[in-house]
Symmetry: C2
Subunit: 758 residues, 2 copies
């Protein structure tokens, strides 16, 4: 959408001939970076790149790809890198079909599918169409799988393949245009919208949008109720806190159900069991799996555990670095805005903001890098485990950067401000050094600013969201624009330069297409983790602090409508098309959501207890020491336990609810069972007809006949346990014997009654 | 074992001929009660019983059972009931095999088995032997399944079949003797012991013994540590409380893993999914299942929910009735032992005990009956749901009867005694009425008896356990002895009576066998629920109150060694052989265990905080009002949260552990997958050999040839997307093009370096 030249698919049709293949049937493009030719030595990196390139082509070709090579980015200066573009297409339909069949069988064996897939030649059957996502996923697996498993063994960016900068599919511009157009004109996304996303970008991305949509719909309630509460109850209302907590529980549990439902509908339930090996995994030794007898790569779990323990100092470091920064800026801010009355106050007010703006992103980036390194050090075998561990770390990081400021205001500044503010004298002394004469700086008497908390929450829930939107959508677009302009200017300047390499001119019919591909090659990868993080942190504000300012829900409702669309634009225009991975849930973020929801019950209770104006022992009015500790603890503890009980109840109720996905699964399982059982019955019938008829009647009769013969010999040859079973021949005799005994009893009764009558 | 006449299997061999069939090959015995023949009218209950009997025999015979009828209990007086014994045996081996095959296939379809079972004729293969338990379970299902599903539709005790008093298998005396002998001489039961139980009595009973064994082994730790703590730390020690809580977590989580492991080893994992319909279930209407299209019986879930809500007043009633009784007796006891100094004190001391002994069992029995009725009213569709709901209710009941007394002492009597005891004046006034003259009764000044709590805990954890053992094993045995003697005397007395029915004399060779069967018919059913309840309640004492008296663990260790053996005797000698049901866990008791373990963390913390002598703010020394409420709450809350965190960690660790069962399952799944994938590959090879060879090379070559022809025509007929893929013919050309481009870059570098050198 950002690119007006390509926004018209008709235009694309006219120049690249035929709207049927706007992507020239390309499955994947490899962006092959060439290092700058600093020295022309035969063993330099460029020579390595060349050798590796030859191998790459050979391997891919052997695996079954059709290939075309085109020039990529031209080296602008002799020291700037250039690139080649390698276009891949699965050469034969039968290879694709075989792959699909193989993976569908694997799914079936792992219990992801209920029914076994049809034979390979029935794959294009209408009930199980091959989606774009499936084809692209399998093609990517073909590229990256080890050679001994039938793949080409290309591991982008790693080791021998470090020149492979990216392997990406091409955007379907027509789809993207329709997608953005349709979403920007509707309020609610339905399951068919999500299904389209799933078919185009895979389940991993689709789950993000499903979560976003579900969250958006659920936000309607806190938006409405919050507005009402804001008007009627004001901030810090018990009622709002309780309702908000309950809402959190219901939303969380509902999503867990929805997630399963979608996974079943999309045929990916339990897909987490099929793990992708992580190519970066370094093994210590090869061992033989006790169970399967296969050779497996082993990394000592104790070593990993030891490295996982590094997470503790990491968390400590995060708290120290980010906490110190926030605390520092916080103190300076309080000092300047609420105590300081000296010169330059109007400028100094911005000092903490400036400090935060400069240092916060720097520190966060550094710590994120550290988290990445740590996760790599933990050396996980599978992509999922690696991702989960990384998510854990960045959740800690973001928890601190997002919530610590508010926590400080609510639980340190307001209750203990009176005690702590005098210590801010240190700033005064520092400031005094820079000003002349020993006379004390003018300060004002400090009073707690009870509105500070509310302002801070509003900042984080409104302003920060808008800033976020800007950095997410506007900045990358602007950056790319500027970058292109710079490039153009550079090209102009270098035009006369001898060293400049002129790529051979593109064929006319391919020109537009190649231009587009080169642009896409320059785009970044789409990382769904960042978007999840944003939403989860947002949910945290709602759950933890919305009791301070009940309009939070409203703000988020509006924000998230825009968010879904801006994320769509981000994928469609600002990123390479993502590789359509599968997923059966939102993964590790689910735990984060649950944690925030639980923490919300505790924090809300504490906030209400401390700040509610109509209750007893409030802050901002009295001192913190007037508050009975047991009452605060009881409030917090009570709230937490109510939360846990409600959660149990809601879970119980939701477990009993039905959903379309579960119904579908049940129907499939039932159909499979019935089919198999029916087949079994048929077999039984056949075997019986084949003359094996030894039913109970036959048996019984057989015995009876045998008995008749035996009786002549007085049954003497049989053991007592045989004779036991031959006393009554057939059911009729048993009935007779029984009735005889009953008659006896009945006669006794008759006698009795006659006795009575006598 | 209680029956000395049958304790020697050899004796049995000599009289019933052949140790191979001591049970005469009988699968099941039906104890068919005949009502007393009060009136000889043809429509009386006896006539009904006769009609029903005929139908019973016909149905069973049609289903495939061989039948023999023998007289059961003779009517001693004309008004006493009598009975018939109906012996059942699955008539043909092929019927049994078919049933086994059908149910194994069902298991496979429900995911209980990993591998599909072999065809019916391979069933007796050594790797999957037919156990006694399996045969008996299927025979019972044949008897009870509805007629349209191929069974006889006998529902013991219900409706038309109300005369069917019991359907039970016969004890294997030889097995029982060996079982009791071997267990009474060993300390630790291993998996093979449990496997034997499983093969004989089914998984449901086996799980009880597995649980008992696991609990017994785990008790070693609290027994040792508790003894040490008792010697060194004394009661109410923080250290003991913490260690005990951690032990509880580890035990609970370990059992959850062990449970899964055993279920896998026994091939019953997920058996809970295959639900047995409850014959007593009353449906409102028949509906069509949306998914399966089958006709299902529907009972409104809202109606059920409404009835489930009755559990709340039920719990209230339990608390009021039992709580009132306990509270009353408690007050009387305190008054008499600690305040009262009047006449008859030595006798009055026993008053509360007498009251409790009389009323407690009465009330408990009544409330248990009520719980049963309530559960029936809730009208569950499946046996498991019914059982779970019933267990929930009796857990509440037992929770109150077992723990309320101690709770009262710990959290009411000791802290608030000073305030409450004056209210006991009401007893004084009552007592005064019965004594003469208005002069006040002699009382002593009341002081809190701090040792009371300890004494109470010792009573519940030692004395009550011994009493329990007596009521469980000795009482039923004595009862039966007395009952038999009475019967004999009665028989002697009535010998001359005209109305007495003489059953026909038993055949000599069957005499002993029938005598034994008649005895077994008189025994009660074994209910594993009662034994679970006992163990879970015991675990509760350990978890909640052992901090009061750390020797609790020792007492339980000894008790449980005896318990396992006495339970074995109970099954072998005091009950009918249980129907070998399957189970994949200890069912609803697991939740009860978890709850008690959690509650233990809270209660222990509170006890330690209140009673610890070396800490601050203790009871028994100062007053309750000296204790800071926030500190108590903080202790309790802290303990609870530590518990929850530890639980999470232990869960995480245990989830990563391997177990033999899981390994077995993994191996089976792997084998199955490999087999199927290999078969698939073979098919692929075959299909390829059949001439379908259209690999990528063929494709590529085909295209190349085509291209050569096309080239002559200037490729004009093809679209740009076709021409795009034909520019480089084969991987070799792609490599050439790429290398050409790299050369260009390399040259630029060369130029550059020359430029530099210039």
């Amino acid at each position: 959408m950002a690119d007006s030249r390509d926004s018209s698919p008709e235009g694309l049709v006219s120049t690249s001939g035929g709207s049927k293949y706007p992507n020239f049937e390309v499955d994947y493009v490899i962006n092959y970076h060439l290092p700058p030719p600093t020295t022309p030595s035969p063993s330099g990196p460029l020579a390595e790149a060349e050798a590796s390139f030859t191998q790459l082509i050979t391997l891919l070709s052997k695996t079954g790809f059709a290939l075309e090579v085109r020039p990529g980015r031209a080296p602008l200066t002799p020291t700037s890198p250039s690139s080649l573009l390698i276009f891949l297409r699965i050469a034969s339909p039968s290879l694709l079909e075989k792959q699909i069949y193989r993976y569908r069988v694997q799914d079936w064996l792992y219990g992801v599918r209920t029914a076994a897939p049809g034979p390979p030649n029935s794959l294009s059957a209408p009930q199980e169409p091959i989606t774009d996502a499936e084809r692209l996923r399998l093609a990517y697996l073909l590229i990256t799988k080890p050679v001994n498993e039938g793949g080409a063994g290309i591991t982008p960016g790693i080791g021998q393949w470090r020149f492979v900068k990216a392997v990406f599919p091409l955007h379907d511009r027509k789809f993207n245009k329709e997608w953005i157009t349709s979403w920007s004109t509707k309020y609610i996304l339905d399951d068919s919208d999500l299904l389209k996303i799933r078919n185009q970008f895979g389940e991993k991305v689709a789950f993000y949008f499903a979560f976003l949509q579900s969250y958006f719909q659920f936000l309607l309630f806190p938006a409405l109720f919050g507005s009402a509460a804001w008007l009627i109850l004001g901030g810090f209302s018990w009622v709002y806190a309780v309702v908000n907590c309950l809402w959190g529980v219901v939303f969380f549990e509902h999503w867990k159900m929805k997630e399963v439902d979608l996974a079943v509908q999309w045929g990916v339930r339990g897909v987490g069991k099929i793990q992708l090996p992580r190519p970066q995994f370094k093994f210590e030794r090869e061992g033989v799996d006790e169970v399967t007898g296969e050779i497996v790569k082993v990394y000592s779990p104790y070593k990993r555990l030891a490295r996982q323990l590094l997470q503790v100092p990491f968390a400590g470091a995060c708290v120290c670095v980010l906490g110190g920064l926030i605390l520092g800026c916080f103190s300076i801010e309080i000092f300047i805005t609420e105590v300081y009355m000296g010169p330059f106050k109007q400028y100094l007010t911005f000092l903490p903001t400036v400090l935060l703006t400069i240092f916060m992103p720097t520190f966060t980036t550094l710590l994120t890098k550290l988290a990445e390194r740590l996760t790599e050090l933990e050396n996980y075998e599978t992509v999922d485990a690696h991702q989960a561990s990384f998510v854990q770390k960045i959740f800690v990081l973001n928890f601190i950067t997002s919530y610590l400021g508010i926590f400080l205001t609510a639980f340190v500044y307001v209750p203990f401000g009176k005690i702590l503010v005098p210590y801010l004298d240190v700033f005064q002394l520092t400031a005094q050094k820079f000003t002349a004469e020993g006379k004390p700086l003018p300060t004002k008497e400090w009073v707690i600013n009870p509105d500070r908390l509310r302002k801070q929450v509003i900042y984080f829930t409104v302003t920060a969201q808008i800033v976020n939107f800007a950095t997410e959508v506007v900045v990358p677009y602007a950056k790319r624009r500027i970058f292109r302009t710079v490039e153009k200017v550079q090209t102009e300047i270098k035009k006369g330069d001898q060293a400049r390499v002129e790529w051979p001119k593109d064929a006319e019919e391919e020109e537009r297409f190649l231009k587009r591909v080169r642009e896409e090659a320059e785009l970044g990868e789409y990382d769904v983790t960042i978007d999840y993080r944003e939403m989860v942190i947002q949910f945290g504000y709602l759950s933890l602090f919305s009791v301070v300012w009940p309009l939070t829900g409203c703000s988020f409702l509006v924000n998230n409508w825009v968010e879904a669309r801006s994320d769509a634009v981000k994928i469609a225009a600002n990123s390479q098309r993502p590789i359509p991975w599968r997923a059966d849930s939102i993964g590790p973020w689910l735990d984060a959501l649950g944690f925030l929801s639980w923490l919300g019950s505790v924090v809300s209770a504490a906030l209400v207890y401390l700040f509610n104006k109509s209750g007893g022992g409030q802050l901002g009015v009295g001192s913190v020491w007037d508050i009975p500790g047991w009452a605060l603890l009881l409030a917090v503890m009570g709230s937490e336990h109510v939360y846990l009980v409600v959660q149990m109840v809601v879970r119980g109720v939701i477990r009993r609810l039905d959903s379309p996905g579960l119904r579908k699964e049940r129907a499939e399982r039932f159909a499979m069972r019935r089919e198999l059982l029916e087949r079994m019955v048929e077999e039984e019938v056949v075997s019986e007809e084949a003359g094996e008829k030894v039913g109970w009647e036959g048996q019984r009769e057989g015995i009876s006949r045998e008995v008749l013969e035996e009786e002549a010999r007085g049954l003497s040859g049989l053991g007592p346990e045989k004779r036991f079973w031959l006393r009554q021949r057939g059911a009729g005799e048993s009935v007779e014997v029984g009735r005889g005994l009953i008659q006896l009893v009945s006669l006794a009764g008759g006698n009795n009654s006659t006795v009575k009558r006598q």
